[in-house]
Symmetry: C2
Subunit: 481 residues, 2 copies
């Protein structure tokens, strides 16, 4: 079990009064306190770690969130914000003495402005829900995490989520215009808006990816984009990971930015093919899915140039889709990848690190060597274009030794990412998962400066305090001169 | 004269000792203390405001910057970082009791990595210098402020600078991968690097645009991009600002993102034509310069579609360039615009606000009405595609009443930007110029939260403290729990 800060004993002792106080602020069904009904909230997408929370609240408005925050601040109670609970790094893992603040009932689209290409939505709207609200008019919301059917925009903001199409469209931070947030004291702040840039510090940027530690996001203004005329995928299969990695590097170095550039290694290809029957080449060591978009002429031009580059790497097979149906067939296996790996191994850790794209071949080789050393299978499925690795480490959760090994293997991969000039996380966040590895990336001075930013928003460290930073007492803040 | 915080009397009294202390840390010519040689540093691009600094230092390495910062921190001396001094908002305006820390001698390109498409440069490298260093290999650095021949990347980072081509490529923040900075205590921190995203908070984003208030930037890792195959411009002239504004809105709403989309109104057209003889239509009320790039086929396709849209707005003239030479002729007037306005009015204030693009016609109409009211001419030249206005308010600096009026007119324009859902600044920063208008955009609670971020980096408010926020004592920071 992951280490948690000591629960506040006085808070545990005051539980009944705290629950009653919260009930006074929310609609009748907005407070969950019964042990059986708390169970579903004990974990998130990183289900290896579990903790039943003190109580769960489900506000429906920003005002209710503000009331809850003011109350918890007054009472000295910790708060863990939660969207759909799809975090893969344990970002929404509860604490025994904390209120889980669930945003899922705040699921309304508040405004769509096609002229200025933006939409204002509540934090609990799903990622796909935004696109669904605007697609009739030919628009879409670009970031597309694999969990997009379930995950919520508030969580996307807090984890700065990415997705397969971020190579072209950027991550959440690049598609965000404004936020309405509630501070730890219960104040409502408006940050950014439907305009370029903003005066003052870039706290829109700072809050994006702050993992629920600086303020509670209740409303989000996102950029919506007009969809492309069309998109088409191609598939290229190679004799080794190194060769496929070098091909990725050449495509990027040529200046072409495909919409998506996905990499699967041999174990991933086999798992996905067995699951989806997508027609993947089983004799290949590595496979790329490359998608381009634009007018038919633009698609032809780009696919032709990418094909030429692939051909320099002696591919086993190259298949350029000629229609939307053929593209869908190519994507079918990739989109079911996580389920496919789940079929061959009931338990796996999905890692998330980034590296400079030029180091891909070397890093894949070293992950392969570690896999042999640890005796654990690994399937590599990832966004190769921006160097965002997702090694899936397979283990047996019924064997504690196997889980321990998988954790160590994962940590070694992340250390390797940092060693080659990359970083600990691409799009899943630090959460509790990578918390204790932050020292690999940052000096103590750098971590303390980041802790001081946390303290500037949340002096009492009440908001999601057990994540992101290795556990220790928060730094004292110097009194301003 | 702009209000400045009270100089610290003890610092003024200790000047000789401070100068001697700094001389011990730097090469012989690295400290400027003689009144005559301090004169050139008394102002920046906002030359209406002037203040001779206590002393100027010109370090050559990060270590020397760290030594200077540690010394000033120990001595309680304020520091104003300065690049090329091209700030249009007075971001580098000195203070009587402050050391000006000039980064211009840190002008070396440290590393170019074409495989990972990034370059590491010192803070004093000019914006154009980065492109010059990589253009032989077909690469460029995208953000292009008008001052790009002179302005330095460290200043670009601190002001999150933009430019005409940001519509397609984004501003500095979107083209930045990492920073080496020196804290107010003299510690060296490395932030970000040559990889996607980063663990921990987005302090790369936070530092970008922080106007020299959080740390001193000494090295910058930037994204370099492969240049397009080619680019071509077109010119479209219209019967009114409103019609041209509506046309901009239609182009953007169509989903086409040109590389540049520049707007000039009648006074601007006449000033530029008289100066550059670029063949601009003198009978037009408003003119757009629209540039696209890509393969010749892509250029033809995009220009054709944009032409169709322009034709719906009954243009006076449409001219699509057929060659690089014809494109250069179209750009010639725009690029000399600021000099051109300088010929018809020796003094002008260049304002900088942003608005939602759909409000362009209305805002231009209201600026016209204010111009009549104040009796001051205004020329509008701006990046219309992203709603970034640059009204040039002409006045006579020899007439204090005229200057006062120009300041009020400018403030009214910025209030109007906020009123229609925009913001105080697009790319020039707040500096001293818009400091006292921050209350128009933010509540006191929001400003105090931003001040607390400042205090988390610089508890003593020693770094460029008189900018960005309306003058008042910094907020006390609560001791962390």
């Amino acid at each position: 079990m992951i280490a948690q800060p000591e629960p506040k004993k006085d808070v545990l002792a005051r539980r009944d009064a705290i629950v009653a106080g919260l009930r006074a602020l929310l609609p009748p069904d907005g407070v969950i306190a019964e042990p059986l009904r708390l169970k579903p909230y004990e974990t998130d997408g990183l289900s290896a770690y579990r903790q039943v929370p003190l109580v769960v609240v489900l506000p429906e408005t920003t005002e209710q969130v503000a009331a809850v925050m003011a109350f918890c601040h007054r009472e000295g109670v910790r708060v863990v914000p939660r969207g759909a609970g799809t975090s893969l790094s344990g970002g929404a893992l509860p604490m025994a003495d904390a209120v889980v603040l669930g945003l899922m009932r705040m699921n309304r689209i508040l405004d769509i402005d096609y002229a200025d290409r933006c939409a204002v939505v509540q934090a609990g709207v799903t990622n796909i829900g935004i696109t669904q609200a605007v697609q009739e008019r030919g628009f879409f919301y670009a970031p597309d995490p694999s969990s997009q059917l379930a995950c919520m925009i508030g969580g996307n903001v807090n984890m700065n989520s990415g997705g397969a199409h971020c190579l072209r469209y950027g991550v959440t931070a690049n598609n965000l215009l404004g936020l309405r947030v509630v501070t730890v004291e219960g104040e409502v702040l408006d940050i950014g808006g439907a305009h370029m840039d903003a005066a003052g510090y870039d706290w829109l940027g700072l809050l994006t990816g702050s993992e629920g530690q600086l303020a509670v996001v209740t409303e989000v203004t996102v950029r919506i984009l007009r969809g492309p005329e069309g998109a088409r995928a191609m598939l290229a299969a190679f004799r080794s990971n190194e060769i496929a990695g070098a091909c990725v590097d050449s495509i990027i170095a040529s200046g072409i930015i495909p919409v998506a550039l996905e990499f699967m290694d041999r174990p991933a290809i086999h798992a996905c093919e067995a699951f989806a029957h997508a027609g993947y080449p089983l004799d290949a060591e590595a496979m790329l899915i490359i998608e381009v978009e634009g007018s038919p002429a633009e698609q032809d031009d780009l696919l032709g140039r990418i094909k030429d580059i692939c051909n320099r790497y002696d591919p086993i097979s190259l298949k350029v889709s000629q229609s939307a149906e053929e593209s869908a067939a190519i994507w079918k296996g990739r989109k079911g990848a996580f389920g496919a790996v789940g079929r061959i191994s009931p338990d796996y850790l999905c890692m998330d690190g980034t590296i400079p794209t030029s180091r891909l071949p070397e890093v894949l080789g070293r992950i392969g060597a570690m896999s042999a050393e640890y005796g654990l299978q690994v399937a590599n499925i990832f966004h190769a274009g921006d160097g965002n690795l997702h090694p899936l480490i397979m283990f047996d959760a019924n064997d504690p030794e196997s889980f321990r090994k998988a954790e160590h293997f994962g940590a070694d991969i992340l250390r390797l990412c940092v060693e080659v000039g990359g970083c600990l996380t691409g799009e899943h966040g630090v959460g509790v998962e990578k918390r204790d590895l932050m020292g690999v990336q940052f000096t103590e001075i750098e971590l303390d400066q980041q802790r001081r930013i946390k303290s500037a928003f949340d002096p009492g460290w009440l908001l999601n305090p057990s994540k992101v930073f290795p556990l220790k007492a928060p730094p004292a803040l110097t009194q301003a001169a």
